[in-house]
């Protein structure tokens, strides 16, 4: 048994409670505990409230079946009997027996208006309806019926081999029938299902009110004919769902014909095949989802099995049955009809010598001895419910003559014949249709086989086929089937218990008085047989459908239409009243909207929320002179200088009720700008490791915050990329950006960043530097980026003032520093002793302090203030010297073009190469002249070069003078100072190495040996200037 898929889907569990979140903290693997309303959760939430949008509904369902024997003209009658309910013979179908069998119109009973049988038979033609004229219709029809279900057999000639072996069904006959039914139906009825298999045709129509409530229609065919598979026998089946709640199955079958025992077994086999092989498409459940598995017969709430089941009367000579029945049908013709061919035939036959083995007289004689009618009548319902059984049969004690006990009555005849009905016996012996199937009381004549065109003449052909109730309408509710299953289980239990008892010892079991239950399968089983066939329960109870609704089905009419003459079978129909819970589409739409709104609300309110607090720092230098609003909502870094680190902190707090996973995401990328989470000048550090610590460094970092939790983020701004410095200096770029903080399943927060770039001399070209006005590069602070209004475009200086100022400061400071060391320092441990490159490397100060002091030096340069004023007074000369010296090296390195540009260098190198080739050497003096001469094409460069080399020579002289004789030093007993003086060439070499690299730009292309040679030459160019005794030259 399929369980409801709603309870088994894991997805549905997750969504069953809107607004619910996992109680465990979200892990890094599952960071988003979202309540995303999908179609699934929405429709399931709607489904859970189905009680609010279902209301009980009552419709009538009419099921009709007719074997039309591929006779033309039959389609002319279908509207009359099936839709209008006409053609029932009141005298031959016990109409006057039933309490609710009141004629549907006054005057019907014996009304002279209704056409006589004689006249009806007389006028019969294939071109016209054979339905009696003026028949008001006994069975409810027209627009009283919500659902018309018609099953036809033999709409094509299935006895023809060509038809039986057809690989497909000819649609033409079906079309003819659809047209015939549609024409008879009241306006608005729609065809909701149809299925054809060769001669089998099933079509369902619904009223305009019911049709839109029908869903999950699925139809199928099962052939059980030739070879067990051909479609000359079998079934066509439809499954529909009514009102989104009630599953109904309709089986129209044509089982194997014949009276032989083998035919009977084949019919049972056909039925079992139809049960096994019928498979429908999955149902769309109320949650809007297709169920996983298709259904078969048995999964529905209500099933209707009808058609030409072909079960016969057994152990009864057909001849006897004919005679017996024609005793009743002869009366139909009356005085006027005596000349009718049918009537004559009947009378002729009845006039034959009495050969009835089962005559009316015998029957009449037998009756009184059988007070209990149930032995010839089909017993009903459950053995445990005797009230049901008794309510079926009318008690003999009633005042009116009980037709069932009237030996001459039709009902008595029918009851005696029904005792021989194969279908009932198969049901009783549980060989077919035993699992819960019911049938209404049969109070009409066998539907087969008549002479075409006759109301009451049974087959007068040579074969004289024995009349039988071949055509039947069975039905079954879900409860009937479940009850049957339970009964089988109970019996199985009993059998087991009995076997256990036998194993324990039969003697004990028999003697033990406490044994409450003693089951003998032989005798007990026989008892049950009589109760196996269910008839309609007069007062059906509500039962629970597969989808959990309360439905009720009751049979109102079960009639054959004896006065339909166009086929050798009489048509048969049954009308049911179905009470069911149907979905009201309007109410459902309203609930749907409500639920959607609630889910949206839960989803929107359940989103994570964070609060971002920017820790504004009091910045002495962040007095913006521009028009920026004071309430800048982002992170303001204030003034930003070259190579100066600034930090700001931001706190992200989870101020919502659910965990929040946050992370900075890639900002949108404008063309030409680098993307990523942050601009290159900014670093983001969380004060805790990310959720996924092991992710590769490139992955976005995410942090999950529990409600109330907060994380601190440090934003570090550092501009040291010279290319960026240049672009900032040229104002083609600004220190403005926006970070995007994403809250998973929530909103994005924008965090604007802003820094105010202070102009720097670093990174510029000599040509630009010589244009810096008095007052320093900061004077350019508020100029426009296009540079069009560079206050004064003119050249202000012969060489960059920065070079002049730095070299001058070094010359000045080196003397003081040495003096200072002489006074206070450790004579054996002078910095220049430790590193011959000092003060341009090998510094005493630590990096951090140097960085701070270098900023001071740069500030002095950029704002054109004397270093003596920018340095804090406690900084001594030695420290100042180191800071200024390092700044000079870095400044020269930062120059865009270099003091000796690539072009100038190529020219110098060319001359040097020529001399090398010619093995010519110049004197040092001549070489210096030649170099300066070569550089003189670029005066600012040449002057800068001179400043630097002159300064280096001076510093060299201070640290390691040439003119102090070695011996003298030794003699005077100052050995500590002797060593450095010996090192002057080494000092020169060190200085030359540092400054050649800082000042002279080699082509980037040169590599390997060639570059090594160039570097040697480059160093030589500087070194040659350090050898001069510049005291003389100055």
């Amino acid at each position: 048994m399929a369980t409801s898929s709603i309870q088994t889907s894991p997805a549905s569990k997750m969504n069953s409670t809107p607004g619910a979140f996992p109680s465990t903290p979200a892990s890094a693997e599952a960071p988003s505990p979202s309540v995303v309303s999908s179609q699934l959760s929405l429709s399931q939430a709607v489904h859970q409230r189905r009680a609010e949008y279902t209301r009980s509904r009552r419709i009538k369902v009419k099921v009709g079946t007719w074997n039309v024997a591929s006779l033309s003209g039959t389609e002319k009658d279908v509207g009359g009997w099936f839709v209008d309910g006409k053609g029932v013979s009141e005298s031959l179908s016990g109409l006057d027996l039933k309490d609710d069998g009141e004629p549907r119109s006054n005057g019907h009973n014996g009304s002279p208006d209704i056409e006589s049988v004689a006249s009806q038979e007389e006028r019969r033609s294939k071109k016209r309806s054979t339905i009696p004229k003026n028949d008001p219709g006994f069975v409810p029809g027209g627009d009283e019926i919500g659902l018309y279900v018609l099953g036809l057999q033999e709409i094509v000639d299935i006895s023809s081999v060509a038809e039986a072996l057809r690989p497909y069904s000819d649609p033409h006959p079906g079309r003819k029938w659809k047209q015939a039914v549609a024409e008879s139906l009241p306006h608005g009825y729609q065809r909701v299902a149809e299925q054809q298999l060769i001669g089998l045709f099933l079509v369902i129509y619904a009223s305009s009110e019911i049709a839109p409530t029908i869903s999950s229609v699925s139809t199928t065919s099962v052939g059980t004919g030739l070879g067990g598979y051909m479609g000359n026998k079998g079934a066509v089946t439809a499954r529909i769902v009514l009102g989104e709640t009630t599953r109904m199955v309709f089986v129209n079958c044509h089982l194997t014909a014949g009276v032989e025992k083998g035919n009977l077994e084949r019919r049972n086999w056909d039925a079992s095949q139809i049960l096994q092989r019928t498979k429908f498409d999955p149902v769309y459940d109320g949650g809007g989802v297709m169920e996983e598995f298709g259904e078969g017969i048995g999964d529905e709430d209500f099933a209707f099995w009808f058609g030409d089941l072909n079960y016969r009367l057994e152990s009864m000579p057909g001849e006897d049955v004919r005679r017996l029945l024609m005793l009743h049908t002869r009366n139909e013709y009356g005085a006027h009809g005596a000349q009718q061919p049918s009537s004559k035939k009947i009378e002729n036959e009845l006039a034959k010598p009495e050969s009835l083995s089962f005559s009316r007289n015998q029957e009449a004689a037998n009756r009184p001895s059988e007070n209990d009618t149930s032995s010839t009548h089909i017993s009903v319902g459950n053995a445990s419910d005797p009230s049901v059984a008794s309510s079926i049969t009318v008690l003999p004690s009633q005042e009116s003559l009980d037709p069932a006990s009237d030996p001459a009555s039709l009902q008595t005849t029918l009851s005696s014949l029904l005792a021989h009905d194969q279908l009932h016996s198969q049901m009783r012996s549980r060989k077919a249709f035993h699992d819960g199937w019911r049938e209404g009381i049969i109070d009409f004549l066998p539907t087969y086989k008549y002479d075409v065109g006759s109301v009451g003449m049974f087959d007068s052909s040579e074969k004289q086929r024995g009349p039988s109730w071949c055509d039947r309408i069975l039905y079954r509710t879900r409860k009937d089937r479940l009850d049957y299953d339970q009964k089988v289980r109970d019996e199985e239990m009993a059998r087991k218990k009995d076997n256990e008892m036998k194993l324990q010892g039969v003697v004990d079991a028999v003697t033990d008085e406490s044994v409450l239950f003693d089951y003998d399968p032989e005798t007990d089983g026989a008892d049950n047989e009589n109760n196996a066939v269910n008839e309609q329960s007069p007062d059906p109870e509500f039962m629970t459908t597969k989808a959990g609704f309360e439905d009720k089905l009751s049979l109102d009419y079960y009639k054959s239409h004896q006065r339909v003459l166009s086929s050798d079978h009489k048509p048969l129909d049954a009308v049911f009243t179905l009470d069911y819970d149907a979905v009201d589409l309007e109410m459902k739409a309203r609930i749907h909207q409500e639920v959607a709104r609630e889910l949206d609300r839960a989803e929107n309110e359940g989103r994570p929320v964070v609060t971002i607090v920017v820790d504004h720092q009091k910045e002495t230098d962040s007095t913006h002179t521009d028009s920026s609003s004071p309430k800048f909502e982002g992170v303001d870094f204030g003034h930003v200088k070259y190579d100066h680190v600034k930090t700001r902190s931001v706190t992200i707090a989870n101020t919502g009720r659910v965990p929040a996973t946050v992370g900075f995401v890639d900002r949108s990328i404008e063309s030409g700008r680098p993307g990523g989470v942050a601009p290159p000048w900014l670093k983001i550090d969380f004060d805790r490791p990310p959720d996924n610590k092991n992710s590769n460094p490139g992955a976005l970092q995410e942090h999950t915050l529990q409600p109330g939790d907060a994380v601190n983020v440090e934003l570090t701004l550092h501009v040291d990329d010279l290319d960026l410095v240049r672009r900032l200096g040229d104002k083609v770029e600004t220190l403005e950006d926006v970070l995007v903080l994403r809250i998973h399943n929530g909103r994005d927060y924008f965090l604007p960043l802003r820094g105010d770039w202070l102009q720097s001399a670093f990174g510029r070209s000599i040509e630009k530097l010589v244009r810096i006005p008095e007052g320093g590069v900061r004077r350019w602070q508020h100029q426009r980026p296009d540079g069009s209004s560079h206050g004064d475009e003119g050249v202000k200086w012969s060489a960059p003032r920065e070079v002049f100022r730095l070299t001058e400061a070094i010359e000045d400071l080196v003397e003081r520093a040495l003096a200072q060391w002489g006074m206070t320092g450790d004579a054996d441990n002078a910095p220049w002793d430790k590193d011959v490159g000092w003060p341009f490397r090998g510094w005493l100060m630590e990096g951090k302090q140097r960085a701070m002091l270098k900023e001071t030096v740069r500030e002095g340069l950029d704002s054109d203030q004397p270093f003596s004023e920018t340095f804090p007074p406690e900084i001594d000369s030695l420290q100042r010297l180191e800071a200024v010296a390092e700044t000079l090296v870095q400044f020269l390195e930062s120059l865009e073009d270099g003091i000796v540009t690539e072009a100038l260098w190529l020219e110098l190198e060319k001359g040097m190469l020529e001399r090398e080739k010619a093995r010519k050497t110049l004197s040092e003096e001549d070489e210096r002249m030649w170099i300066l001469d070569t550089l003189s094409n670029a005066p600012a460069h040449s002057v800068s070069f001179t400043f630097v080399t002159f300064m280096l020579a001076r510093v060299g002289n201070e640290v390691a003078p040439w003119n102090i004789p070695l011996e003298c030093g030794k003699a005077e007993g100052v050995p500590a100072q002797v060593a450095p003086r010996m090192k002057r060439p080494e000092v020169n070499a060190a200085y030359a190495g540092i400054f050649a690299d800082a000042m002279i730009r080699l082509p980037a292309a040169s590599k390997g040996k060639e570059r090594k040679a160039s570097e040697t030459r480059r160093k030589h160019v500087v070194e040659v200037f350090l050898k001069a005794t510049l005291d003389d030259g100055s």
Binding site: S5, S215, G288, M290, H592, D600, R667, N692, R747
Partner: protein, 218 residues
């Protein structure tokens, strides 16, 4: 994992999910329109949006069709303009809002429309919303852009057009419903459906790394 296929309460029922982005000059009422649509509320004073608010709202077109909007309400301030592509890049529809009492806001709206038509998904449905119709109802002289002008522009540019009031709710639901009706439900019908909400199409802006989303199971 559920193996059920969801194709509707009955054949033909549809559920589709779409990403919608709101664009427009600062203070034209983008967030107010969303607030009215989603919560049926209005605040006279709303702080400007710094970021992109994310909300969802489901509407039923008829008993068989449900459309869920994932709404990204973006900041209108100029400084955030460069971030807009993050939100309109994968959007199925956009509402470009202007203020009918501010002539400049329509120019801005036009430039957004241009940008969308150039840069966004080529099938994007764009609606133009002239907000603050309530102001004009009280003081007709406050109107700076005539309905006819805006309508003519919208027709020319192939946009849906509504004059709305987030304050009185006028045309707000109509605006979103009109968009939903214009969306390609047939195609999206399938991809909006998912048996497991953790799967399916993530219509939010693309983000590398662990951001959800990925394969569509249609």
């Amino acid at each position: 994992m559920s193996s059920r296929v969801s194709t509707g309460a009955r054949p033909g029922a549809r559920f589709a999910q779409f990403k919608l982005v709101l664009l427009g000059e600062s203070a034209v009422g983008k967030s107010s329109l969303v607030l009215r649509f989603v919560k049926d509320q209005f605040d006279d004073y709303r702080e400007s949006t710094i970021g992109a608010a994310f909300l969802t709202q489901t509407i039923s077109l008829d008993d068989a069709t449900t459309v869920k909007f994932e709404i990204w309400d973006t900041a209108g301030q100029e400084r955030y303009k460069s971030l807009a592509p993050m939100y309109y890049r994968n959007a199925n529809c956009a509402v470009v809002v202007y203020d009918i009492t501010q002539a400049s806001s329509l120019d801005k709206a036009k430039s957004w429309v241009k940008e969308l038509q150039r840069q966004a998904n080529e099938n994007i449905i764009i609606a133009l919303a002239g907000n603050k119709s309530d102001l004009v109802a009280e003081h007709p002289d406050k109107r700076a852009i005539t309905t006819a002008d805006a309508e003519a522009y919208a027709r020319e540019a192939g946009l849906l057009f509504f004059e709305t009031s987030a304050k009185t709710a006028e045309n707000v639901r109509e605006l979103f419903t009109a968009i939903a009706r214009k969306l390609p439900l047939e195609q999206a019908g399938n991809r909006g459906m998912r048996a497991n909400p953790r799967q399916g199409v993530d219509l939010r802006p693309e983000a590398p790394g662990t951001q959800g989303g990925g394969a569509c199971n249609c």
